[in-house]
Amino acid sequence: MKQELIRFPFQVIFKPFSSFWDLKYDNKGSMKASYLLIAFTIIAFILQKQYAGFLVNYTDPRAINSIMDIITVVIPFVLWVVANWSITTLMDGEGKFTEIVKVTAYSLTPIVIVYIPMTFISRYMAQEETAFYYLMLSIASLWFMWLLFVGIMTIHQYTVMKTIVTMVLTIIVMGIIVFLGALVLSMLQQIYDFIYNIYRELLFRT
């Protein structure tokens, strides 16, 4: 566990190509560690909202809701993984579902290792220094995207162009999934209403 959770993420963020290769072919990295990384990401966001310094924290304290933070991380994550798997299966990707999960989760490492310390450093910042805070957060996000790109490219054995195209398609498919989900939900709602109305009608008639 120590190996997978501490050494391997650091290996991933600094040497993404070889590490993701190891992830695919040497069976490095584990699902357990992936779940933990997602949990850490959620914790990083919650901590940021609650404890970031006054000068950078524009969150209304009454609006802080950890359940919402969990949802805003987990749902896009699941959508991304499912959409990417669906697309790459059709586009001759070699990656397995678990590999996509692992790659995406390990790519979140920079967010965890930048957000949590920056949250606490931001408490000791003056107005002029907050630029540094925002810079670090942007670097973390860009780093995350870079890792995700390399990871997807490696596990599916794609070219650069094909990776970019699949990633864009993945985002579109995420939208389609959300749309279909909403459609199904509203239809279920209507079916429920219909049955409930019949039930009520029967109650009144008898």
């Binding site: 006054f54 000068l55 209304d60 000791y124 003056a126 107005q127 002029e128």
Partner: protein
């Protein structure tokens, strides 16, 4: 058992009495006073002004007012009411007795439609008569000093019809006139009635949706559309420095209130949390505030009258919203068609056209304290303002401006740690940063010895640990090779 009954009786009685008392207090304003917090939510606030009386024409022993359009208080305290429907100007003494009625001017005769008034220190009366199309200036004794009816200038179009609606005069006796049909800005005249020019043109707002729509429409359609023209000013007032406070009826503009310097630039300070534009939140069916009058209360404070919802918004010199009161209704102290707001140094007066009377609002303790503290702060007495702000906070602990005011004074007296707390309470980030930086520097200076000692000790410990580990690993390596050799030998 009996003790229990007695206790419950006392509790009941106290609850009853306190609720009764709260009811009495609550009933004193027909409107609900509120203010906006940092999160742009309307939160309840103590009322700053409460209705004290209403005065109509019959209270003065004269014919009731008929559609009065403007009201102004002279520096002497006399109240001048433009009783437009009755074609007269009613002058009321500060003790609410009738002073005189002006219903005609020698050489002109009766008034047309008196729509704007202004009085300066010499009790010279400036009358903007939009019906006659004249600006009439009367001396204190009622004799005509000046009449402007046809301003001449190269920049005025040939067939221009002068229709003054509002007027204000600065210390140098320059006249500032809002005229209808003039989109170039406020007309400025010198003492002799010579036209000096326009100041403060309202900028034309670009509507990109409209521009795109125009691209795809025919010439006939385009001619049917509304023109892009700047909005007119609705009213104006002059502050003690000779700057013009002007309001315009530009819906959805972030700057309906302007403070124009002599060269016509808008120099209003807008350092508050949000735009100086009245209501921040409103239903789309109700719409934004429409300012039709503005009154400078002195020391940078000004009140603007919103005709849309019948509210008076008072701002301080830095653009902080101090308080809001008033509403449209039929009770005493509420408005039907408010047209003018005035300030006599203590009370605020609002003229209502439809109700044809003057509403007098007296300040509450809260209102007085807020105004006093703002005045002290404006004049640089930040330290003296602190106890007043403290009292304000006792009455309304949500009053952010009070926290910021106290914080500023604390920063000046170098009590940075306390200042940080107050700025945080007031959600004032810039000032917080200043105070925090100072506090941090002080702390660093004070703790320098401790910090350096810790760093040195930590460095020594880390180096020691490294050396120790190296030594140990070397020793272990030696034993490992030794044991390996032994294994081989065996």
């Amino acid at each position: 058992m009996r003790i229990k009954a007695m206790v419950s009786a006392i509790v009941m009685a106290s609850v009853l009495f306190t609720t009764a008392w709260i009811d009495v207090v609550h009933a004193s304003t027909p409107y609900e006073a509120y203010n906006y917090n940092y999160w742009e939510e309307a939160v309840a606030s103590p009322a700053a002004f409460v209705p004290s009386r209403t005065v109509g024409g019959s209270d003065l022993g004269i014919e009731p007012f008929l559609e009065p359009n403007d009201m102004v208080i002279a520096p002497s305290g006399n109240i001048y009411v433009a009783d437009t429907g009755n074609k007269r100007i009613v002058v009321i003494r500060p003790d609410w007795s009738l002073d005189r009625i002006i219903d005609s001017v020698e050489g002109i005769g009766a008034f047309g439609t008196v729509s704007g008034l202004y009085v300066d220190e010499d009790e010279t009366l400036y009358i903007a008569d939009s019906g006659l199309g004249k600006l009439i200036v009367l001396n204190k004794d009622g004799s005509v000093k000046l009449i402007i009816d046809n301003p001449q200038s190269d920049i005025i179009a040939a067939g221009f019809k002068f229709t003054p609606t509002k007027v204000a005069v600065d210390d140098a006796k320059r006249m500032y006139v809002v005229a209808s049909g003039v989109f170039e800005g406020i007309m400025q005249f010198d003492t002799d009635g010579e036209f000096l020019g326009y100041i403060g043109t309202n900028e034309v707002k670009r509507d990109y949706y409209e521009i795109i729509w125009r691209l795809f429409s025919t010439k006939e359609q385009r001619s049917q559309m509304v023109l892009f023209i700047p909005t007119e000013f609705s009213n104006l007032d002059i502050d003690h420095k000779g700057f013009v406070y002007a309001t315009n009826i530009d819906l959805n503009s972030p700057t309906p209130i302007k403070r124009l310097n002599p060269s016509g630039e808008d120099v209003l300070k807008r350092f508050g949390y949000f735009h100086v534009k009245g209501d921040i939140r409103f239903r789309s069916s109700v719409g934004p505030s429409i300012f039709i009058d503005i009154k400078y209360l002195g020391d940078g404070i000004y009140s603007a009258l919103d005709s849309n919802q019948g509210r008076i918004f008072t701002y301080d010199a830095e653009g902080n919203l101090l308080f809001i009161y008033g509403m449209h209704a039929n009770q005493n102290g509420t408005f039907k068609t408010p047209v003018a707001v005035e300030y006599d140094g203590v009370n605020q007066l609002v003229l209502d056209r439809a109700k044809a009377n003057i509403h007098v609002f007296k300040p509450t303790m809260f209102g007085e304290l807020v105004l006093e503290a703002s005045r002290l702060h404006y004049n640089g007495y930040s330290e003296e303002a602190v106890p007043v702000w403290q009292q304000v906070l006792d009455l309304n602990s949500n009053y952010d401006i009070a926290y910021i005011g106290i914080g500023r004074s604390l920063v000046m007296s170098k009590r940075n740690e306390e200042a940080i707390f107050y700025f945080k309470q007031g959600m004032e980030r810039d000032q917080y940063s200043v105070a925090y930086k100072r506090y941090r520097r002080e702390e660093m200076k004070e703790q320098f010895g401790t910090i350096m000692t810790t760093i040195v000790i930590a460095a020594v410990m880390i180096i020691g640990l490294m050396i120790w580990r190296k030594v140990r690993s070397k020793r272990q390596g030696r034993t490992a090779t030794y044991s390996a050799g032994r294994d081989q030998a065996l």
